[in-house]
């Protein structure tokens, strides 16, 4: 479903010689139902890879393919059906309830006045049920706890009905209990909804427990290395953080 084709991730300089290459990826592909974690040291380029996948950053070379289509050829309106995104921190918006937040995920399907149809309300209710948010649906997003807010944002992404969900460090600002809860939830969603879920994380131990695939940025070799379950923890850690 998602393919990296000879992708070079980095920043463009003034000329080709001045380009900063962070890492290369060989051909890699990810399928629906995969729960993939991207790990790497700080500054290795996790966010840059994510931004490239989201189409917010241009790759130095190569292509990101979604269902065979190069990402750059997909229009903004169409991209909505392929990609949804959850930032690592959402601080809440005054007077925006959990229900309204999840409803914003339906907005690509609504008319110009953002009016929700019966169908949209149905989908929002399903999402609320699946994420067990019923008791929080009328609560102001500003008054939710960090963990609840993260789940509500996942709900917004779910309501978007995209094939691929990208989450930037979804566990970064949470306590241990909530970290596990979110990881379990994502693991479950990937399986049940047949979505491809793509996260970046520093919580490597949790990724070992819940993800079925890990890709790691090796900053020395400037390459993206791929691991499948069962993971050899030492090998993964060695490849990212060295000896």
């Amino acid at each position: 479903m998602l393919k990296f084709k000879d992708l070079h991730i980095g920043f463009k300089g003034k000329s080709k010689q001045e380009d900063t290459l962070l890492f290369k990826t060989a051909h890699q592909s990810f399928e629906a139902g995969d729960f993939v974690a991207l790990i790497g040291a700080n500054g290795a380029g996790k966010t840059t890879l994510f931004n490239t996948v989201l189409g917010l950053h241009k790759a130095l070379k190569g292509n990101v393919l979604i269902e065979g289509q190069p990402l750059k050829e997909i229009s903004r309106e169409e991209k909505v059906k392929f990609l949804s995104y959850v930032p690592s921190k959402f601080s809440g918006i005054e007077h925006l309830t959990t229900y309204d937040l999840i409803a914003l995920g339906r907005s690509p399907y609504t008319n110009i006045l953002n009016r929700l149809t019966e169908n949209d309300h149905q989908r929002i209710k399903e999402v609320i049920q699946q994420l067990d948010l019923t008791s929080l649906k009328d609560k102001d997003t500003l008054s939710l706890s960090d963990g609840e807010r993260q789940i509500a944002m996942i709900g917004k992404a779910l309501a978007q009905d995209s094939k691929l969900m990208v989450l930037d460090e979804p566990t970064a600002f949470l306590d241990y209990n909530n970290k596990r809860k979110i990881m379990y939830l994502l693991h479950d969603l990937a399986k049940k909804n047949k979505q491809l879920i793509f996260i970046s994380s520093h919580d490597i131990e949790l990724c070992f427990d819940y993800c079925n695939r890990i890709i790691a940025i090796d900053s020395h070799a400037k390459e993206l290395i791929h691991f499948n379950t069962p993971f050899d923890k030492n090998e993964v850690i060695k490849s990212v953080f060295g000896g």
Partner: protein, 331 residues
Amino acid sequence: MTSKKKYWKQSLLLLIALIILVMYDLTLGSYAVSLQDVFNGIFRYNETNSEEMTVHVFRFPRVMTAVFAGIALSVSGLLMQTLFQNPLAGPYVLGINSGASLLVALSTMSSFHILGSDVGLVFSAMIGAFGAGLFILISSLYVKNKISLLLIGIMFGSFAGAMVNVIQAYADPNNLKTFMLWSFGSLQGIEFEELGLVGGLVLIGLFASILIIKPLNLLLLGDNAAHLLGINVRLIRLFIILITALLTGVITAYCGPIAFVGLVIPNFAKMIYKTANHYHLLFGSALAGAILIVACDIAMQLLSPYLNLPLNALTALIGAPVVMWIIMRKF
């Protein structure tokens, strides 16, 4: 479902309040006029009846101007607050009014008379407002901090103010007087025949804002999230600045730089509607804004035998404490 009805009910209440205040305001002035004469003055105008003439020539334009100014400034304020994700944003604070003032000063007081006519005045105010809006928009790409952006707006406002001072220093005394009176803010600047033009432009701005309700709602999530939900963020930003320039420009040209309404009213609307949906916030802000300026006009009319209060002084007297309150609560 029920909550939607609640919003409409609130809007209906505001509308009724507005209509009552407008009717009351129409009877006020240097002498009281009956509602019957008000009706005749608007719909069955007869020049020989002095009461009807007063209503037709002075009061109806004055009250309608108050309504249009309230709608225009509040809607601009709401758009600015969403665009910059900042509850303290507004056309006055961000220097949009000052941009308009600068160009109005240039066209009324300098020898630069290309834009001398009335239409020219409106047009130059819009250009000034658009220029200031664009300046703030570009600054916002570099300055991420909300308070810093406000400071840039305030600095831009002082800079434009200083330029106006320089122009004033060289101005002809008659032109200077015209400009000073304009800068106090007044609702008397629009004649009956011009109401159609001003009202039309304000309605165009309001209608254009309704068309971007969805992007406005999504902008609350931040630029990246809005982009990934299918919004062309750059285009929408420019569109917001254009609408604000149109609304603020036309009102500033005719009524002078009216302070604080655009900042206070959207916050008030958010407080009573308790929603983040711009569909309701737009109507709420427009209605509440109209109510505030009509109420200010009523206050000015009632106080006029004892005290001549310029509009701008009155809105600042109300607005400044509200702004302090918002700062204490939110920052």
